[in-house]
């Protein structure tokens, strides 16, 4: 066997790949499910926090700022490990799925709150005053005047952050979650062959390359003019 054959046999072994393809597909479905849940809950929670912050209730705002800062400083993997391995000592044993979903949602919440808040504060004060003076209430001004302008500014940074955080679903492997990387890793140990990892890598690329290309397009369309 030449070196090239050996390489192919190790990394592109068709027999091994065929055997573990169903596992990788199952892992891919789980990754998609988890990613969608994280994006929805993380961004909604972040938007909600930013809206609460716009009420300017000082004690509440300080709490929001602290929580956001905390979640931005901690590595997501540390939060996942803390939930999965730490919480059982407090009488709550979250599953690997729960730990990963909750951790990454919280992290996305923190980052998106910052982005939404920056967007809201970027809307000129005169806009608030003008809307209020036409008789719109605080809520109406926020929803109909400020947010539509603020959200436009947030699209590009939010997309980038969302991609970076949803890629983090791979961290679930550490807490025994059978997403793509988890499936691929156990397939490698079972087959003594790294081909499933190549298959798993391909799955990630198929999932995320279109998103990255879409993000590039969005960035161009909605970029902040400097």
């Amino acid at each position: 066997m030449t070196a090239w054959d050996k390489f192919l046999d190790a990394f592109f072994n068709a027999k091994v790949m065929a055997k573990y393809l169903p596992d990788i597909l199952a892992g891919t479905l789980l990754t998609i499910e988890l990613a969608i849940l994280i994006v929805v809950s993380g961004i909604l929670a972040g938007l909600l926090l930013a809206l609460v912050r716009s009420l300017s209730f000082r004690p509440l705002n300080l709490l929001i700022i602290f929580v956001v800062d905390l979640l931005r400083s901690l590595p997501p993997l540390v939060i996942i490990v803390l939930l999965y391995f730490g919480m059982p000592s407090a009488g709550w044993s979250p599953s690997g799925f729960m730990s990963t979903w909750l951790s990454l949602s919280l992290v996305l919440m923190a980052f998106s709150e910052e982005i939404f808040w920056a967007g809201i504060t970027s809307v000129h004060k005169g806009q608030w005053e003008a809307s209020r003076s036409t008789g719109l209430g605080f809520g109406q001004t926020l929803m109909n005047v400020v947010l539509p302008q603020a959200l436009r500014l947030t699209i590009a940074p939010l997309t980038n952050r969302t991609i970076a955080i949803t890629k983090g679903t791979a961290l679930g492997t550490v807490v025994a979650l059978h997403e793509i990387l988890g499936m691929a890793s156990s397939a490698v140990s079972n087959s003594y062959n790294p081909s499933p990892l190549i298959l798993g890598s391909a799955a990630y690329l198929i999932l995320f390359i279109p998103v990255v290309i879409a993000a590039r397009w969005i960035e161009k369309k909605y970029s902040w003019k400097r």
Binding site: D69, I79, F85, A118, S122, V123, H124, Y204, I213
Partner: protein, 224 residues
């Protein structure tokens, strides 16, 4: 309440685990000092090459950047750590982290620096060249200082992410902060060491997060 203190803020356990956790912190710092410059310099290289007028240079660079933006860093790390031995190449956890992060970060730093270089008006280069500076000199002395200043918040933000990302080293047995905390936790059956690690990350990175938050808000203010 007492149960929570015993399990998460246990002073005896914390004192016992202190030296292990501090060792981890030192390795985290060491790892960061290695991967941040590696990523920054390779990104800088990509960004400068991206200024090329030739599509044959720019398109592969764009593909490189998109590839690593789509590829989870942990998958890259595991691929190197578990895959390379099958090619007879045993790199060890530390080196795998270095290579994986250099590849991943070259894309991120590269994209940021490219935007920075693009933000410097072209007239600057022409002016610099007309005073007799070479293309390279114009880049190093005129364009890059302004480019870096223009994208400083993004560079800092990415650096924060890189430092946090070093925690992935724990997956390939690099004895950084999270790994050491996990070791101490399994030895004591008490999650206090993990809480210690979290507190250390927070204390070290909080000032940077505060600074970034201010820079970002200032960048957006007045855009409406």
């Amino acid at each position: 309440m007492e149960e929570i203190v015993d399990n998460f803020f246990n002073v005896d356990i914390a004192v016992g685990a202190m030296s292990i956790v501090i060792d981890g912190l030192l390795n985290t710092i060491l790892l960061s000092l290695m991967v941040v410059p590696l990523g920054f310099l390779s990104g800088l290289g990509l960004a400068v090459m991206a200024q090329s007028k030739s599509r044959a240079v720019r398109w592969p660079l764009m593909a490189w950047v998109d590839f690593f933006r789509a590829f989870p860093p942990l998958v890259l790390l595991v691929l190197l750590f578990a895959g390379l031995p099958f090619m007879g190449l045993e790199l060890g956890g530390f080196a795998c982290v270095a290579v994986a992060f250099m590849l991943n970060n070259s894309a991120y730093y590269g994209e940021i620096l490219r935007a920075g270089i693009d933000s410097v008006p072209h007239g600057q280069i022409e002016a610099a060249r007309s005073t007799g500076l070479s293309g390279g000199q114009a880049m190093v002395y005129v364009v890059l200082p302004q480019a870096i200043r223009n994208v400083l918040p993004d560079l800092l933000s990415n650096t924060l992410e890189v430092v946090k990302l070093t925690s992935l080293g724990s997956v390939v047995a690099v004895p950084e902060l999270l790994y050491q905390a996990r070791q101490a936790q399994s030895a004591t059956f008490n999650p206090t060491p993990i809480v210690m690690a979290a507190v250390i990350y927070f204390l070290i990175l909080w000032p940077l997060v505060r600074l970034l938050s201010r820079l970002e808000n200032r960048a957006l203010a007045g855009r409406g």
